[in-house]
């Protein structure tokens, strides 16, 4: 039976308070139930309303969130979605992203607790991205768009409130990142010359998917001069090949988010996605001698002993282990820029399709309503 009051038997699951916005927010700040910004108080009525598009039992966890290993049940996720300012129809994507992050290969424990400054990046593909008007164009990573801002924020609040990613005792990031407030975009599929990410990964074009990447904030590749594919890709390679990324020391999957204009230039050169990845991979490397002596001896020669054990200073160190480890998406509005997004390194991205409980792919969140 999906009736919230009956699921809240644990006396700590609820508390009574006067419905006073300012006082409640002070209480939430005091208890650490916030990202530092005011929240919408998750009353039972609001949380029930948020669950309108949830087609599974409200107390059936979609996963356990480290380091507290709290149960990410739909009703708890809905409470965080209320706090973040989501519309109820956004909740299925919040739940799906959390489910994807709980896959072992994603290494959410590492991402939550590391000193590195990574945050889960959410990339939405397929018709639901358009239905929920998730921004894929100008300022896609920036503010001003409700679905991007609140879906990403709901996920962060869940990672804090359910997962215990509290600064200094659960989240040990040396710096953290502004991407930890919210980090959610849709791919600009209509402006892409290539197949979108979810199709590249084997899903039907009309499936809706969420891809999660344990990512740094974007770093820009400004290229207003290259008129050929090879020029754009060389500039991306030069930006990606830096000594301090985790990807180069582990087996990461950095994201290359091409603007539509850069993607068009690369595709006009006759490059498929796979061919462009190979061209990039062959050029995105550093000579071993660019690393510090201690890094060469203590890290590179140890981690890549077969290849670099006795290698000289000119030996190439690739940014990623295989061309297919680059994740390509097309994103953004007008402008000749590409975003290079390094990752935590010790993580693999996960793509999951939005499905009903019977396993059928969902083309619209309306298919989940009241199910």
């Amino acid at each position: 039976m999906n009736e919230l009051a009956s699921l809240l038997r644990d006396p700590e699951a609820t508390f009574e308070a006067e419905d006073d916005y300012e006082n409640l927010n002070e209480l939430f700040f005091e208890r650490g139930w916030s990202d530092g910004l005011p929240v919408i108080p998750p009353s039972i009525r609001r949380v029930e309303k948020m669950l309108a598009y949830c087609d599974r039992p409200w107390d059936e966890p979609v996963g356990l969130l480290p380091p507290r290993w709290g149960e990410a049940t739909p009703w708890r996720l809905a409470a965080n979605a209320v706090m973040a300012g989501c519309q109820p129809r956004y909740l299925p994507l919040v739940m799906l992203a959390i489910e994807a992050m709980c896959r072992e290969v994603f290494n959410l424990y590492g991402i939550q607790t590391t000193t590195h400054l990574c945050a889960p990046l959410i990339i939405v593909n397929g018709p639901v991205a358009r239905e929920l008007t998730i921004n894929c164009a100008h300022n896609a990573f920036g503010p001003g768009w409700r679905s991007n801002a609140t879906i990403g924020r709901a996920i962060r609040l869940a990672l804090v409130n359910i997962g215990g990613a509290v600064a200094g005792s659960g989240d040990m990031a040396t710096f953290g990142s502004p991407a930890k407030y919210s980090y959610c975009v849709a791919e600009n599929e209509q402006a892409s010359p290539w197949e979108p990410l979810h199709v590249e990964r084997g899903f039907p074009a009309d499936a809706s998917t969420v891809t999660v990447v344990g990512a740094e904030a974007p770093h820009n590749v400004n290229d207003h001069e290259s008129t050929k594919a090879e020029g754009v890709l060389r500039m991306v390679a030069g930006t990606a090949a830096t000594t301090g990324t985790n990807d180069i020391a582990y087996a990461g999957e950095p994201v290359i988010a091409f603007s539509p204009e850069h993607a068009a230039t690369v595709a006009a050169g006759g490059y498929s996605k796979a061919e462009a990845k190979r061209y990039l991979w062959e050029r995105a490397w550093l000579p071993l001698g660019r690393f510090s002596e201690e890094n060469i001896e203590r890290r590179m020669r140890v981690k890549f002993s077969e290849r670099l054990g006795n290698a000289g200073p000119d030996a190439p160190v690739p940014v990623v282990q295989r061309p297919e480890d680059f994740i390509f998406i097309v994103l953004g509005g007008a402008g000749k820029h590409t975003a290079f997004i390094p990752t935590f390194g010790a993580t693999r991205s996960v793509t999951l399709a939005l499905r009903r409980r019977d396993g059928e792919c969902v083309h619209s969140v309306e298919q989940l309503r009241g199910a």
Binding site: P67, R68, W69, T113, G164, G168, S169, G170, M172, E294
Partner: protein, 72 residues
């Protein structure tokens, strides 16, 4: 480690002081809040070998105390 502690083995986690709060939290999460922690000064990464040895010297008496305690 938590599982080994629960099974009664003498266990400890070596932890740098900057990560003490996380270690205590995690011991609690895994149901063994009393799990011993051997605390060394932060950092352990990126230090020369003599400093690594100095940290081992800080850890050793804590380990000996722990073993003595467990044999009582």
């Amino acid at each position: 480690m938590a599982e080994l502690t629960r099974r009664g083995a003498t266990t400890a986690v070596v932890c740098s002081d900057a990560f003490l709060a996380l270690a205590r939290n995690q011991a609690g999460v895994f149901g063994v809040p009393e799990m011993p922690l051997i605390v060394i000064p932060h950092p352990l990464g990126g230090i020369p070998m003599p400093e690594v040895k100095a940290r081992a010297e800080r850890a050793l008496p804590q380990l000996v105390d722990l073993l003595r305690e467990s044999l009582r």
